[in-house]
Every structure is written in structure tokens, then in C-alpha cells.
Amino acid sequence: MNFALNRSHFVYPLLTLLLIIFFVTDVCYGTVYIPFSEIWQIMAGIEVSHGNKFIILDFRLPKALTALFAGAALSVSGLVMQTFFRNALAGPYVLGLSSGASLGVALLVMAGSFFGGLLQFGQWGIIIAGLLGSGFVLTMVMAASSRITDSVSLLIIGLMFGSFTSATVSLLQYFSIPELIQSYLFWTFGSLSGIGWEQLGFMIPAVLIGLLLSFSLQKNLNLLLLGENYAVSMGLNLKTTRILIVICCSLLAGVVTSFCGPVAFLGLAVPHLTRGLFRTADHRVLLPATAMLGAALLLFCDICTQVPGKDITLPINALTSLIGAPVVIAIIMKRNQRL
């Protein structure tokens, strides 16, 4: 019996507990103090002050759900990318998806006429612009991947798309007025709080489809670990797998980036964390564990955006890196000592 599967017997319940604790804490803890008894009443549907009801039901709860699903989505897409490219530095952004989303949003915000007035500004406008942008890059990468045989070249092409789009964004900023640049910059900070129930109704199903797709690929991913040539000799259809992987990652990373802005680092760090915790490369374990750990970590980061005793909240994007980087360094140091 696989050691990792044994180990998961007690790590899974622990992760589940952690997820629940972080979720509840995230809902209970915020800038404004609301006593737990009142939160309980709000949840039970008992009428209390309108302001607090709004803060809990329409602000903190959607925010926590967003953290839950965005964390899982970004981490899983990072894991799949790392396996697919056989590169420990790969993350959901190597395909240029987030740059594509940035370009879409930048065009909408700073070159208003680009979409010919078809797209209204506002939350959905930004989301659709982001989806169009990442969809555009996805199409280009798919076209490239059907012609190119090795994944390293695909990685480089993805990075080039990224450079190209960020250069376009710089140009747009150069000719734009400060107020519009500011609107765009706020988007790049990333935010979990902008998502309401209406948006969740779209984001959660999209993320779930992406997650299911990635789970259905777990055997293919395990084969890919052996190297592409060996995987093909074992009967893997490389072309189909590659296209499915690109779709799956674009769905996960593209949707989350369009809704929340670029949330940094999580996709890169969580797969390493999970491998360190479970000490396995088996995707049957890694995929669900990465999803849970990613969700827990983003929830934890969201809790930390609230500076204790102060009225300010920090941008989530800075927190994910601030918290994530030391954790990954610690895990890698520990793992290398053992060897």
C-alpha cells in the first residue's frame, strides 16, 4: 500500500478541519466587530440590524466562498502546469493567461473605445474583458501547441505572450490619464471582496468544471511524470491530453483572474507545499490535497489582510506572497535536509 495514501488518512481530516476553521474565522473576523451571537442570529435568519446583516451575508460570506474556490482553482492549475511542463517554477500564469486577462481589462479601462461601447463598465464588463483577454491568449497557445511537439517551447511561447501583452499594457498606461490608470492598478492588486452572489453563480460552476476536468486527468498526469516519450509508449494520447490540460488550466486560472484580478504566487507555491506535506508525486493524492490546501491558504491570507486593531485592510495579492514565500522556503529547506 502506498505510504502517501496511508498518510492521507489523517492529513485529509486535518485539512478539512483547517478549512472549516479558516472559513468560519474569515466570516466572523473583519474590520467591524460583530459578536458571534449576532452572526449566529443572522445565519439563522433572525432579523438584526440591516448594516450587520449586509456585512455578513453580502460581504464576508461571498468573500470567503470566493477565497475557497479561487484558492483551490489557482493551486490545482499550478499543479497541473508544473507536471505538464515538468518545471517546478511553472504556475497558472506561464501560459500568459493572466497577462491576457490584464490586457483585456486594460483595454476596457484605459482604451474605452476598444470594445466599441459593446461592453459596459462595471463588474461584469471587467470580468468579460478579462475572460476575452485570457481566451484570446488561450486560443493562440492552443494553436501553437498543436504545431509544437515539446512543452518547453510552449512554455517559452506562453512567456512571450506575457511579455507582449504587458508591453501593450505599459503603452496604454503611458497615454492614459491618472484616474484610469488608478482604476486599472486597483484591479491588479487583486481583490476577493468584489465578488457578489451573482458573480459566484457563474464562478463556482466554472471552477467546479475545471476541477472535475483536472481530476479526470489524474492518470494522464501520473503518466506524464515519467516523461512524454514514455507516457506515449504507455498509450497516452499526448495531443488530446495537452489540449485538455490547456483548457482545464485556462478555465481555472482565467476565470479566477478575471473575477478577482491576478492573485499572485498561490499557484506556484501550493503544489510544492502539498508535495512536502504528503511526500508523494501521485496525482490521485496531490490533486484533491492541493485543492484543499490552496483553499485553506487563500482563506488564511484573507483573514490576514485585516490588520489587527487597525481600520485598514491590505491587498490580498501582497499577502499571498508575503505568507507563501517563507512557507515554501521552510518546506524546501526541511525536505533537502532529510536527503
Binding site: I55, F59, D311
Partner: protein, 365 residues
Amino acid sequence: MNTYKTVFLLVFLWACGSSTKNGTTTESTEKKVIKPKYARFFQLEVDKNDTALIILNPWKNGQPTQRIQLSGRSAAKSIVPMSTSFYGYLELLGELDKITGIENQDFVYNAQILERVNSGQIKELGESGVISVEMTVRMNPDLLIISGTEILGPNLNKIQQAGLLILNDMDWQEQHPLGKAEWIKVFGLLLGKKEKADSIFGEIEHKYIALCDTLRNRLPEKKANVILGYNYQGTWFMPGGKSYVAQYLADAGAQYPFNTDTSSGSIPLSSELVFKQYSEYPVWLNPGSCRNKKDLLLLDSRYGRFSAFKKSAVYNNNRRSNVKGGNDFWETSPANPHLVLADLVYIFYPQILPDHQLYFYQPLK
């Protein structure tokens, strides 16, 4: 529902809008549209039972972007101005004491507001992009005023969903200084001081126009040449020919090299071009945040070769400012365009207003 309203409004405006002139009203069978005299981005819609304030979108050919019912609405008693540029309107209306929250105190000049922040009567809620949703919803102010943009951003969206009134103030998009100042009428409508706002604006308009008239009769044949802005990493940003700054310069009788430009934002120019073509210009305005000549040379020692620098004719709008970066120019000049115009006229043609004391501007020493 919103789309339906917008479509209805558009059809209505199309039906009655073409014959509308500035400062006039248009009668239709039921509704009247009252347009302001100079401002382009708000108007009133009046029918038998209801008056509504309509905010128009500067980026979409003045289509309606917000509709605020005025009938039955009580005057706002607590206000959160999300930009210091609204303080001037509130001060003139005597409503500064209604402020319960601001963005933050770092760039505030107004002493009364700073004092009330320190005593805890005014809360700092964070800049409009990162405003604290929870604190704002709990504070529940009657009116939140933001510098209107097309995108509210995630946090303001949430606040709006909580039912708070957010006014999209578009005064910063107005091209005529009096158009900006006319927004005091919008503040008056929402604060229950319509008559006072109308009469204050009347005075401002009178002073501004009177100054323009005086100038017109006494303007020398050779207009003063002026450049603006400063070099930043090889690019020199000058205000566009359709910006409100260009309008001020035209009203003050100055010769601005980009007055035929058609942009309302700023024009990025190669610094090389500016150094070569405009360094002999006699007057230079708004060189960033500099307070004296030494600051200016620290930014770029080549500024010393400009004629305006040598003749001490570099003027900045920070005469009334504090060390923390608060500048009264940004707070009260939108509501007091006549003071800005008088300063500029004095800078270009001191002989026309010999007794004028500079109010916002100061020569760098």
C-alpha cells in the same frame, strides 16, 4: 430593470434633446429637462410629481449614467467626500461640519477637517479603490461623493449594494472652469441648500465674467507665452488643449503652445523637444510639487537654463499648502475659479490687476 430605464431615458432624451440649448429648458408633454449653463455632465428632469438629478457620462457622449430622485429625499446630514476637491463646495455651502468620513488625512489642507479627524469626529475610510466596506456600511452616511469614473471598483460596488447613495461627481471632467464650479448646484440639491448654491454660483460667475471682460479690453497686443508641467524620465506632460487648464490660460489671455490640441487629458511630449523649443518661454507654471528653485534643480539641473527659471517666473499653485502635502488649490479652486483666474492674470499681466495678492500661486524663489 436598469437597462430598461436607460433605454427609456435615451429615447426620451433623443426625442427632446436636439433642440436643447445651454441654460434653457425644454418642454415636452410631461417632462422638462433643465440643463445647467456651463456644466455638461449633469441635468435636472422635472415632471409633475418628481424631480430627478441626472449625471451624464463624459466617456460615452454624455449618456445618462446615474439618476437620483430628489422629490421626497431629505437633505443629507452626513457626508463622506472621497476627494479633497469637494471641500471647496462644502465650505461655501457651510456644510463642512456634516462630513463624517474622508479618504485619509495625508493630503488634507483644511484645518477644520484635520482637527476633526484628530478628535475622532471624522473617520478615515481609505482611498476610493480600497475603501473599507465594513466601516462605511456601519457608518451609514447619507451621501458618499466620489470623483466619478466608469468603474466603481469592487469595494464601492459593495457599498452601493448595501443601499448607500454614491454620487458620481464628474466635475473633474468639465472643461470650463465655470462648468466645474457649477457643480456646487448638485451639492446644493443633495444637501437641501438649492437656493444658496444657486446664489453662490451666480456670484462666482459674475466675478469670473467681469474679470474676463476687464481683460478683453486691456489685453496687450503681444500675449504672454507660457509652458506648463515638468520632465519625468524623458517625458514632459503638458495639459491638452481641451483641458480646463487650457481654458484658464485662454481666459487669462496667455499664449499656450498647445491650445489647438484636442485632448482633454495631458499630452506626453519628448523632453528634448520641450528643452529645445520652449526653454525661452517667459512664464512656466505648475512644475510638480516644487516649493522653491532648489527643489526644481534637484529634480533636473538642466531646468536652470530655462528663461523662466533665470527670471524667477516659475510659478506653482502651492502657496496655500502644508508640509504633509495638503494643498488648498486642489481643495477649493474648483469652487472658486475666479480666484485662479485672477492669479493667472496677475502672473501674465501684473499691470492689469496691480493690487491683486496672489492667492493660490507663488513664484519659486
